[in-house]
């Protein structure tokens, strides 16, 4: 039965393949619906600081972790913080109000996890089955070989290999 569901999901993706447009109302979640965490870090937290993050996310153990420190504040009017580990990256940025002014808060802005097992989103890692994503997000959209959901003014996408239905990358975007 599980295989049939996965196969149906794949053909649904094929039908959507050519459209490249999805309806967010079919796959939108808010903080009140569920809490999403990247390595245990609530992606909606707006009180980021470097040491709290790397301790919470257990990233100290990775010698290859690169941290930029605060950057690009003069250019954007708010700070940015960049993390890179292998071909994975995480960006934090200042939070703006509706006028575009920096509020002083900082939150996770974007990430892309391409490989390895150092990162997980609510336990989902690269190489897991798409069914894990479907379980976490029963209301999801599919765009080609991507599962897409919108969460708390961000967009999450999970690319998968349709031949084996395994997750190949996870990404979070914020509007800018």
């Amino acid at each position: 039965m599980k295989n049939i569901i996965i196969l149906a999901a794949f053909f649904t993706s094929l039908l959507n393949f050519a459209q490249n447009n999805i309806n967010p109302s079919n796959c939108t979640y808010s903080q009140s619906d569920l809490t999403l965490t990247l390595n245990g870090w609530d992606i909606s937290r707006s009180n980021y600081d470097h040491f709290t993050f790397i301790n919470t996310a257990a990233l100290r153990q990775y010698a290859g972790l690169q941290y930029s420190g605060e950057k690009d504040t003069a250019e954007f009017g708010y700070p940015w913080f960049y993390y890179t580990l292998d071909d994975n990256y995480i960006h934090f940025a200042g939070v703006l109000d509706t006028s575009g002014d920096y509020t002083g808060n900082k939150r996770l802005f974007s990430f892309k996890i391409n490989s390895g097992n150092q990162f997980n989103l609510n336990g989902i890692e690269i190489g897991d089955a798409t069914q894990e994503v479907f379980n976490l997000f029963p209301n999801h959209c599919i765009d080609g070989n991507e599962i897409v959901v919108f969460y708390d003014q961000t967009a999450l996408s999970f690319k998968f290999n349709p031949t084996n239905n395994l997750i190949t990358s996870m990404a979070l975007d914020s509007g800018m």
């Binding site: 490249n20 703006l96 031949t163 800018m176």
Partner: protein, 352 residues
């Protein structure tokens, strides 16, 4: 339908034709020259496989197989799944919704069911001309080798070779795109107001999910959008909308994935109506100007690329993000453009 069978003809001596003009362009990498068996009839063709998935024997298990005749016309397209053809695909037209080569291709593919709906628009071939790009290089900064096809041959190239290049001369008032094939108008300037445009035929790009206002300045995307997104396929020439000096910082021309979300970017410091004006040009591919350089209004400064977060779920495709600062204060860039836009972001007074 039958399975697709083909034989790759690498380094063939077969001759294909090349011409210099086109109306539509599609960037295709890894095009192969193949011999197809269509119900027992052998047909020479050019094959591109979009979104392929390979099995352990390095055979393609699934993907979209797109074929072109050697004269450059679209031949046919099929979707393969689990080694079997499951769909026939027909080109439905070009648009700007994709942001990369592969996404562009998926966008223009529409499904055709000849049995159920043979009169569907998706069952009608709509492309009359096509450009096929063969890019044997691994670096995004290498210029691709172009095989351009049209009905009237003017020059011959070896289909199996990876050498050679196309050459296009644009008429006066036009600039060649980074694809080395497409000629673009140089944006016109309002001589009275002094306003200019960074692109020809400007149009505000909508959000992929929120509608047209998503590309405008302000709050169209859930967070503040500090600029305007202008629709621009990959490789579109970008011009200085106003004369000025390229800022020393910020400036970036060597962006890699994981870097700043603005990508390769250039800021040009100008004056306008007695105010200091700085326009920022984001998501560039190739950058043609250097920090401290004086540039003139309408001067080519680079080409659009896919750097930064140009592929974000909150944009609808490839674009130029323009940011404005008037006397250091963030401002809607539309104030400084020659073009005016309608409520849906459409260009309502282009001079091009």
């Amino acid at each position: 339908m039958n399975n697709i069978s083909f034989e790759t003809l690498e380094n063939s001596n077969a001759q294909i034709t090349k011409v210099e003009t086109l109306t539509n362009s599609i960037n295709l990498t890894e095009v192969q020259y193949v011999a197809l068996d269509f119900n027992g009839i052998m047909v020479e063709a050019l094959q591109y496989v979009n979104n392929p998935y390979y099995d352990n024997d390095n055979k393609i298990e699934s993907g979209d197989f797109i074929y072109f005749n050697l004269d450059g016309t679209f031949l046919d397209a099929y979707r393969l799944f689990n080694y079997q053809i499951t769909h026939r695909l027909v080109f439905g037209g070009l648009d700007h919704a994709g942001f990369s080569y592969s996404a562009l291709l998926t966008t223009i593919l529409q499904e055709c069911d000849e049995d159920l709906n043979p009169d569907s628009e998706f069952c009608q071939d709509q492309l009359e001309e096509i450009v096929i790009v063969v890019n044997p290089g691994s670096s995004a900064y290498e210029h691709p080798i172009w095989f351009v096809y049209q009905n009237t041959p003017t020059e011959s190239l070896d289909a199996g070779s990876s050498t050679g290049s196309g050459s296009v001369t644009c008429p006066e008032g036009h600039v060649l795109g980074s694809d080395s094939v497409t000629c673009h108008d140089i944006p016109c300037v309002d001589d009275i107001s002094g306003k200019g445009d960074p692109l020809d035929n400007m149009e505000i790009l909508g959000s992929r999910n929120n509608g047209v206002p998503g590309g405008q300045y302000g709050n169209g995307r859930g967070s503040f959008h500090d600029g305007v997104d202008l629709k621009a396929p990959y490789g579109t020439p970008i011009f200085a909308a106003h004369s000025g000096i390229v800022a020393t910082y910020p400036y970036q021309a060597n962006w890699n994935e994981g870097g700043n979300d603005a990508g390769n970017r250039v800021y040009i410091n100008s004056g306008f109506n007695g105010d200091d004006l700085q326009l920022g040009y984001w998501h560039l591919g190739e950058v043609l100007v250097s920090p401290g350089q004086q540039v003139s209004q309408g001067q080519l400064i680079g080409y659009t690329g896919n750097t930064g977060n140009v592929g974000s779920r909150f944009s609808a495709g490839p674009h130029l993000h323009i940011r404005a600062r008037k006397n250091g204060i963030k401002t809607d860039p539309e104030e400084f453009f020659n073009t005016d836009f309608g409520s849906q972001g459409q260009n309502i007074n282009t001079c091009n």
